[in-house]
């Protein structure tokens, strides 16, 4: 493939491009789902294509194609060059990329069992078995269980001399059921919402999740929620678990700290950010116990790879250190805007047909010092919320509202009644500054976000957010219309 790719590099060099790269990507995705005793999806997708990025006269052009011929590589590279020339007509100053050494390397996601080698029959058997358990109660009107496996083989070549080959693998699975009765509808899922748990692992992930073993509990909770009391209104201490805390990190820290967004490059679509560059190193984002670390080397992380799509080697860095804004998600184009001579390496593209953009890396809340049990014992009047159901945040990442699938009241140190339709609202820095306890490493685990949308044209990326249950004081809960 590098021989094929070299054609684009030759053309970029010949036309004296400031920078050029080509990514050839062969991807395979297997999607399976079962709904109401029938196959809901069973699709095996294989794609192959390439994307060429040209920086010419300080401006970008990008073009891509799935016609794998030498002639097409030439056409697409020249077209990217022409697009860059059109871009150059409207620029203030020339784009300059932060320096990165050239690499010649191969990297792949470690795994134990290749999910594509596991028989489809075995996978469907598990999904049908889960489906059967989920539908045992007549109040369950809809149940969907699913698995999703992606392998992406990348060949990345730059005019700077990098030749990087990577094979990235992810596996995911989960299920959701919807209970409906007497004008009420409730949802419960496992292990998390939005397609279940996804990590950069092989089929061993599926086997570790005990999917069938949790189906009965999940069904029972969905039905019990129908008659559970509603989430109380007011300000209470809020303990957030797993998948919901992952989304909280994602929306109110991850996106807020993408440097392209901070600099206004997403203004027209998803918005900008309150976490502006003059705040770097100084702004109190959260309480002193809040440490949020970006890590492209994290085992199992969906953004874990040897290199990002700027050909920058994987790194680990603080976004928030002891409560203070300490870093951003960067690419090579914008790193210089915060006086950094090297990108942290968080630039990725969705497949061969999209230009690499700044993305959230794996971003995790570091564990605290208390046990999960003590966290609850120490809470007098609070609410636990788990598994995201709805999400919304303003375009500067300040005002947010989240809804969860399930909640429980905490009274005098004990987890008590289940509550339905739990919601909470907040303003990002105020919220993270109210964090006064984070459970220790015994409760810390990774949660995958497999469907993060950003950019125009919209691109999807995957990343993880590790966390342990954490407590936030006096949060506004129980928002009603």
């Amino acid at each position: 493939m590098f021989t094929f790719a070299n054609k684009a590099i030759e053309i970029a060099d010949k036309h004296k491009a400031d920078f050029g790269d080509i990514r050839i990507i062969e991807a395979r995705r297997q999607t399976l789902s079962v709904k109401q005793g029938e196959i809901g999806a069973l699709n095996d997708t294989v794609t192959l294509g390439f994307g060429v990025r040209i920086l010419f006269d300080g401006a970008w052009g990008f073009a891509s194609s799935d016609l794998m011929t030498a002639g097409e590589i030439e056409r697409v590279t020249k077209f990217a060059l022409n697009i860059a020339k059109a871009s150059a007509t409207l620029k203030n100053k020339k784009v300059r990329l932060a320096h990165e050494p050239a690499y010649r390397d191969f990297w792949q996601t470690p795994f134990i069992t290749d999910p594509f080698a596991v028989a489809i029959e075995k996978k469907l058997d598990m999904l049908f078995a889960i489906d059967k358990v989920l539908r045992k109660d007549a109040k369950i009107k809809s149940a969907v269980s699913s698995m999703d496996f992606i392998r992406e083989h990348q060949w990345h070549m730059t005019t700077e001399g990098s030749r990087i080959e990577q094979v990235l693998l992810s596996s995911g699975a989960g299920y959701v059921c919807h209970a409906v009765d007497k004008g009420e509808a409730q949802t419960r899922s496992y292990p998390s919402t939005h397609g279940g748990q996804t990590l950069s692992m092989g089929y061993e992930l599926i086997e570790s999740l005990d999917l069938p073993g949790n189906a009965e509990r999940v069904r029972g909770e969905a039905v019990a929620l129908l008659t559970a009391p509603a989430c109380p209104r007011g300000r209470k201490d809020l303990i957030i678990y797993g998948n919901q805390l992952a989304l909280q990190i994602h929306e109110s820290v991850g996106h807020a700290c993408e440097l392209d967004r901070v600099l206004g490059y997403e203004e027209s679509y998803a918005g900008s950010s309150f976490a502006t560059t003059e705040k770097l190193g100084d702004f109190r984002y959260g309480s002193p116990i809040v440490n949020l670390v970006a890590d492209a080397t994290l085992p199992g992380g969906l953004a874990t790879a040897g290199y990002d799509d700027d050909a920058v080697k994987a790194q680990r860095w603080h976004i928030v250190k002891e409560g203070v804004l300490s870093g951003y998600m960067t690419n090579r184009e914008f790193a210089g805007r915060i006086n950094k001579d090297r990108s942290w390496g968080s630039c990725r593209a969705d497949g061969h047909n999209n230009i690499p953009i700044t993305r959230i890396c794996n971003l995790s809340l570091m564990p605290g010092s208390v046990s999960e049990e003590d966290l609850i014992k120490d809470t007098k009047d609070g609410v636990i919320m788990e598994n995201n159901r709805s999400w919304s945040i303003d375009q500067k990442r300040l005002n947010f509202q989240f809804g969860c699938e399930i909640g429980w009241l905490v009274k005098n140190g004990k987890k008590t009644k289940m509550i339905k339709n739990p919601t909470y609202q907040g303003i990002t820095p105020e919220f993270w500054n109210s964090c006064d306890a984070i459970a220790n490493e015994n409760s810390w685990r990774l949660w995958g976000v497999a469907n993060c949308g950003k950019g125009q044209p919209t691109q999807t990326a995957m990343m993880c957010h590790g966390n342990s249950p954490s407590r936030f004081r006096k949060v506004k809960i129980g928002v009603t219309a």
Binding site: S33, A86, A185, S392, N399, K476
Partner: protein, 442 residues
């Protein structure tokens, strides 16, 4: 673009006796993005997706690829046939569809729009940027164009083909701490009134500078078409998709024929004509029919695919997604029909209220009431005594769209189209007692 017909016939031949369906989608797309008064991104993509569904006596599988080579196709068939062989039979599985004539939609393909060169997109961005620089403002946005072609064919003779072009000009302008937005999509780029889009976004940005804080609570709102379209989209999808209805998760479950919202509201799904027109058949090759979902406030009908239609004892309305799927049919060409009020009349008749340009990051909280949340964005204004009085800081709404549509006081006379999950069009709406649950800092 690949020749769809040749690929389809080749695949159906390779399928032999195994009933097969082929969906081929080809797209040529390009987008110029600008931010901070410069071009920030300029991209182009050519892509083809070939998706093959095989069925065999109660068994089903699908494979998808983008390389129509002999090797790739043989690999796809080999894996798919193995999957079919090991699968348990499903007696409820529907056979592939038989051909039904598809009505033509209005003309939606314009070669000039499909092939707009990057220089022309850059020039258009340049005109706005020049205006903004002169006004001391900053331009952000996109100008995108392209074409998409789709073919659905199967063993039983279904052959459906559709081609359309598109151009979308979307602009955000920042002026100090003010922000304005406007957008115009079209199948023919010549129909876009670029100057109007520029002017609207720049005026809103200027007028929304130095916004004041207002207390959250219930207000009369005037939702401009983009904000109204957002609510229509959620009402359509979560109310009138037959699978949600059959699962008891729709607010109209058991209420067809009953008044569910204000009599001022009529919502259709219409792929064949009007502002939301699009592909005239679904992903099984079945013709999309015009479906009146709500007629003067009364819930009338649902959109169906073959599976939900069979359960309901009806015929499909042509709203299938690629089968099998877990979502069921989806209305993809929604239109809230216009009323008789101009924007000026709506504002003039409002003693105290809020004018909303657009919503941001809307999401569903409860399906049975279509309770939603989201933020206002890019121009939110207080109306007092019949005039736009001053800009206000953005607010979060938490509101049931069904209840809100029961409190509609006026429907605008100028619907606008947007491309979102499919196409949706709506005029402005005036709604009383709309609930804002909190505010933000800008």
């Amino acid at each position: 673009m690949h020749d769809h017909r040749t690929i389809c016939e080749r695949i159906l031949r390779l399928a032999g006796r195994c009933p097969a369906e082929v969906i081929i989608t080809s797209t040529d797309s390009a987008l110029t993005r600008f931010a901070g008064n410069v071009i920030s991104q300029n991209v182009s993509n050519t892509a083809t997706e070939i998706s093959v569904r095989l069925t065999d006596k109660g068994r089903v599988t699908r494979f998808t690829l983008n390389q129509p080579s002999e090797t790739a196709l043989k690999m796809g068939f080999s894996r798919a046939l193995e999957t079919l062989r090991t699968q348990k039979k499903n007696p409820r599985l529907m056979p592939l569809s038989k051909p039904v004539p598809v009505k033509k939609t209005k003309k939606l393909f314009f070669p000039g729009t499909a092939e707009l060169p990057p220089a022309e997109r850059a020039a258009r961005a340049g005109i706005l940027i020049k205006k903004c620089k002169k006004a001391g403002a900053t331009a952000y946005g996109t100008y995108e164009n392209g074409a998409a072609a789709i073919t659905v064919a199967n063993t039983y003779g279904v052959r459906a083909f559709h081609k359309e072009s598109y151009a979308i000009y979307s602009v955000t302008v920042r002026d100090g701490n003010g922000s304005g937005w406007a957008e115009s999509p079209a199948s023919d780029a010549r129909e876009i009134d670029f100057d109007r889009v520029d002017r609207t976004a720049m005026e809103k940005a200027l007028l929304s500078r130095n916004p004041r804080s207002v207390k959250p609570g219930r207000y009369t709102v005037i939702l401009e078409p983009a904000a109204a379209a957002d609510l229509v989209l959620f009402m359509g999808i979560y109310g009138f998709a037959a699978q949600f209805y059959q699962e008891g998760q729709s607010f109209v479950t058991g209420k067809l024929g009953e008044k569910v919202v204000s009599e001022k509201i009529t919502i259709e799904d219409n792929a064949l004509d009007g502002l939301s027109a699009g592909m005239p058949f679904d992903y099984e090759g079945m013709p999309r029919r015009k479906v009146t979902l709500i007629e003067t406030g009364v819930a009338r009908a649902l959109v169906h695919d073959r599976k939900t239609a069979a359960l309901a004892g009806r015929t499909t309305t042509g709203h299938a997604l690629p089968v099998p799927n877990t979502y069921g049919p989806i209305p993809a060409n929604l239109a809230l029909l216009k009323g008789g009020s101009s924007m000026e009349e709506m504002i003039k008749s409002t003693k105290k209220g809020i004018l909303v340009t657009n919503f941001h990051y809307t999401n569903l909280l409860k399906p049975l009431t279509v309770k939603m949340t989201g933020m206002t964005r890019d121009g939110t204004f207080m109306i007092e005594n019949g005039r736009v009085a001053y800009p206000i800081k953005n607010l979060r709404f938490t509101e049931s769209a069904v209840e809100a549509f029961n409190r509609v006081e006026a429907v605008g006379d100028k619907p606008q189209a947007y491309i979102s999950w499919g196409r949706v069009s709506a005029p402005a709406l005036k709604i009383r007692n709309f609930n804002f649950s909190s505010s933000t800092e800008f």
